[in-house]
Amino acid sequence: MKFSYFPGCTLKNKAKDLDRYAIRSAEALGISLEEIENWQCCGGVFTTARDEIATKLSSVRILKAAKDKEQDLITVCSACHNVVKQTNNAMQNDAEFSSKVNRYMASEGGYDGSTTVYHYLEMLRDIVGFDALREKVVKPLSGKKIAAYYGCLLLRPGSVMKMDDPENPTIMEDMIRAMGAEPVIYGNRNECCGGYVVMESPELAKKKSGDVIRNAKAQGADMIITACPLCKYNLMKNGADVPVVYFTELLAEALGVKEDTNE
């Protein structure tokens, strides 16, 4: 099965592990991720300014590229996914926005919002299936107590992301179970890590990330997984004394495709 794949800027430098283990694991599951050509930054958090058009164009181009190849689009970074999915939603439901965008893009052909966007986790759940994943696991992570950290961007706004219940999600926990480990449920798993506030107020980010780490450990976690490079950065920088890894890395380990040599 082939999909268009959008990694995003961070996955090409700081978060290479999120990217390469995603591709490798997908291959092990019989899925080929075809990276979109000449992609640009998704637009980052700037796109949350609703009256902005220019910063959302790169997301629209990503969506259009997938559509031109008649493929569904897969993303893996929480922030990119949020931006791309919200932009797609605006193209579908906000007539004023989509007509403005299409005027900007007149010379390259329009886009109608028809691309289906999956987060990598949704691909695991809805396309591969967690039962099928369980069967592909060659190195079960038995005995590990793993805390899934969702952060805020992956699930919200719930009415647009439609991935899982934003207040009581199960998708990563189900994945952890499929890999043979034990998920740790803790209340702060869907709270903010501090995000970009770390630039302005490191103390606040330290408090927010600290709350997540403390809560996860108090509930018995010996590892935290995430889909977001910024979450990982904040948790690591703010005193995480348990490993914080990308979920794709753990997946690659369970599927037996994680190489030990550092590139």
Binding site: D165, E167, N168, I185, Y186, G187, N188, E191, D211, R214, N215, A218, Q219
Partner: protein, 664 residues
């Protein structure tokens, strides 16, 4: 030719503020058939009605047009006036120039023009009106009360005391409802069981009351005075008539791991059970989903220990049909599900509980024998946080909760907080609120006692997140008056959950053709003047099925509903509505279209002999309307392809004349 009088009402400034009533009266004077036209400040007042009566006599009027408020408001009033004046009451037409005109327009010329048009339409109709005489139907002197909580109990007792037989249908194995689960009641703090259970016994012992417990209404046919109701008595696998309620079967039943719904799943019961010690009827019920004998055919312990031989594993559901003159809906409420409120961690921690669960935890007959202990580890909690408005007043999250105020939560939370501090002075108690709403006799005094005498920390602000951490619940909240974020490490959190109508209400409303609002609360016939009657004749409303209420209000409404029922059952015959459908048999082609659309089952078909113009006879299949069942909705008249069906008082001809007058 009719001699029509037109009476234009000012309704104070309600109509006269945006409609030039003098101009309306003047304009309508010129309409065909109108011989007299005038205006008056309050046409519905005695003086206004006298004006109508004297004008009828003075001008020999044969028909009346009243330009006033909605016919829902005063049509009956003016029909009576016409009768006093010696006219047939159906010679009156109302032109609604208030709700449909003056109240919706701001501009006097536009309002006046529209009022004139509405008046012209009414005049055109009255020109074609014919006197109508209502038929009569008998009244079955027995009432049905659906729901056996405090509302249903009170209504049933009041009707029965007046000498009429009453049946209560309750879907649970016992009557008592939610009140039976409560510990104490605000603001007097008397024990709920002490004031409820004697009433339950009264019901059981009353010669005029029959209780159908563990039963449901499955079908309702008929109309006011004559409802034919089918009641399904679910098989309880115990013969109610011989079970003595001794409880031997309950003690000996080997299947003891069934979540006890009476204690909201906080402890277990056996597969054969009596919900609580004061249950009425006090008989055992076998839960077929958990009984080993019924599931596998192997066990039979209860049957062996029963000295009365009351156990009957072969019992089947039983259907009973009975005729009633009046039906009272008293289906009550349920707390909403907390599934969509996971920010409060209800599904993640046993120590986050609802207020109803708190009632059971503090009730002497509850799972902890009245000791306030944490459900997770049985330890005494020292810091307790109460959260109000969980799911109530949710205007921004209507898909999760309810937009309305659930009304009872402020008071019961004050009660919980006060009682906790009274019994356990070592606890620290916080209450988070949006507003504290305490309108009611002695209510605000009660709440202030909680704050001033019992040192309950009332904090204006909402809880944003509850995080279970170890043995603690980390509560993050805002203090709006102080502009601060608070973090409280609580031992127990109590959520004041919104209440919603019982799930069975909607299907029941369909059976009764009784209307509901968008929240599934039953609609009253008039929100102020007829609050205990449903718009469907003969159906009355009691308790929280109509809207959130506390116990004193529920009991008052229950009594009011009973008095309406008594007023109805005291009559021997009821005057029907003469505005019913009738079929022109010569035009009817027997196609059955009308029968299919009739929501009341009022239309049947019969084979009738007709003499043809050539003097032969022919048997044809034609529609026939039962005027006692027909409610005059008019569905059949618009469905009939041959135009044979017509509605008295709203004949096709009359409606067309109105349309012509408007379009002229």
């Amino acid at each position: 030719m009719q001699r029509i009088g037109v009476f234009v009402c000012w309704c104070g400034s309600n109509i006269a503020g945006t409609v030039d009533v003098v101009a309306v009266a003047e304009a309508l004077k010129k309409e065909p058939g109108v011989v007299f036209s005038t205006d008056y400040q309050y046409m519905c007042s005695q003086a206004g009605q006298d004006l109508i009566v004297s004008s009828v006599k003075e001008h020999n009027l044969t028909g009346l047009v009243i330009c006033s408020c909605s016919p829902r408001m005063h049509e009956a009033t003016f029909r009576k006036t016409a009768q006093v004046a010696g006219l047939n009451p159906y010679m009156v037409e109302i032109a609604n120039i208030r709700e449909q005109c003056s109240w919706v327009h701001k501009d006097m010329p536009i309002g006046t023009e529209k009022a004139i048009i509405l008046g012209k339409a009414a005049v055109a109709k009255v020109n074609l009106n014919a006197p109508l005489t209502p038929g009569e139907s008998p009244v079955t002197k027995r009432a049905l009360v659906i729901g056996g909580g405090i509302a249903g109990i009170q209504t049933a007792l009041d009707i029965a005391d007046a000498g009429f037989p009453v049946d209560i249908v309750e879907k649970k194995p016992t009557i008592g409802g939610k009140m039976a689960q409560l510990d104490k009641t605000f603001p007097t703090l008397d024990c709920a069981a002490c004031i409820l259970t004697p009433k339950m016994v009264d019901v059981a012992q009353h010669e005029n009351i029959r209780i159908f417990s563990y039963s449901e209404v499955t079908d309702v046919k008929g109309f006011i005075g004559n409802f034919d109701v089918t009641i399904k008595k679910n098989a309880r696998f115990v013969n109610e008539d011989i079970c003595t309620g001794c409880g031997d079967c309950v003690t000996k039943c080997p299947q003891k791991k069934v979540p006890n719904e009476f204690n909201l799943g906080m402890d277990n019961r056996s597969a054969i059970y009596i919900p609580f010690a004061q249950a009425v009827p006090k008989v055992a019920t076998i839960d077929p989903a958990h009984c080993t004998m019924l599931k596998t055919g192997k066990c039979g312990v209860c049957s062996k220990v029963c000295k009365a031989n009351a156990i009957d594993y072969t019992q089947k559901d039983e259907f009973i049909t009975e005729r009633y003159g009046a039906i009272v809906v008293a289906t009550g409420f349920d707390p909403i599900s907390m599934d969509k409120f996971d920010e409060f961690a209800y599904n993640q921690s046993k120590d986050v509980i609802t207020s109803l669960e708190f009632e059971r935890l503090t009730n002497a007959a509850g799972p902890t024998a009245g000791k306030l202990l944490r459900p997770s580890d049985g330890e005494h909690p020292h810091k307790i946080v109460f959260v109000q408005c969980v799911g109530s007043r949710c205007d921004s999250c209507a898909e999760k909760g309810k937009e309305y105020c659930s009304k009872i939560c402020c008071m019961y939370t004050a009660k919980h907080a006060m009682l906790t501090r009274d019994k356990y002075p070592d606890t620290e108690v916080y209450v988070f609120y949006i507003d504290v709403r305490t309108p009611g006799k002695n209510f605000d005094e009660f709440y202030r006692r909680a704050v001033e005498e019992y040192d309950v920390h009332y904090i204006k602000g909402m809880v944003g997140k509850i995080t279970p951490e170890g043995k603690k619940l980390m509560v993050r909240a805002s203090d709006l008056l102080d502009g601060k974020q608070l973090n409280i490490d609580a031992d127990l959190v109590v959520l004041a959950t919104a209440i919603e109508p019982d799930k069975s209400a909607r299907s029941l409303a369909t059976m009764l053709t009784a209307s509901m609002d968008t929240n599934d609360f039953f609609t009253e016939a008039h929100p102020k003047l007829r609050p205990v009657e449903s718009p469907t004749a003969g159906v009355f409303l009691s308790g929280t099925c109509q809207g959130p209420k506390d116990i004193p209000e529920t009991v008052s409404q229950a009594g009011a509903a009973a008095s309406k029922v008594i007023g109805l059952l005291a009559k021997d015959k009821l005057k029907g509505n003469p505005c019913v459908a009738s079929s022109d048999e010569l035009m009817c082609n027997g196609c059955s279209s009308c029968e299919k659309v009739c929501p009341y089952g009022a239309i049947t078909y019969e084979n009738k002999e007709f003499r043809m113009p050539d003097r032969t006879t022919r048997v044809r299949r034609v529609a026939s309307v039962n005027p006692a069942v027909c409610q005059g909705c008019g569905c059949c008249t618009v469905t009939c392809p041959s135009g044979a069906m017509d509605l008295r008082g709203f004949m096709n001809e009359q409606i067309m004349a109105e349309v012509d007058a408007i379009c002229k």
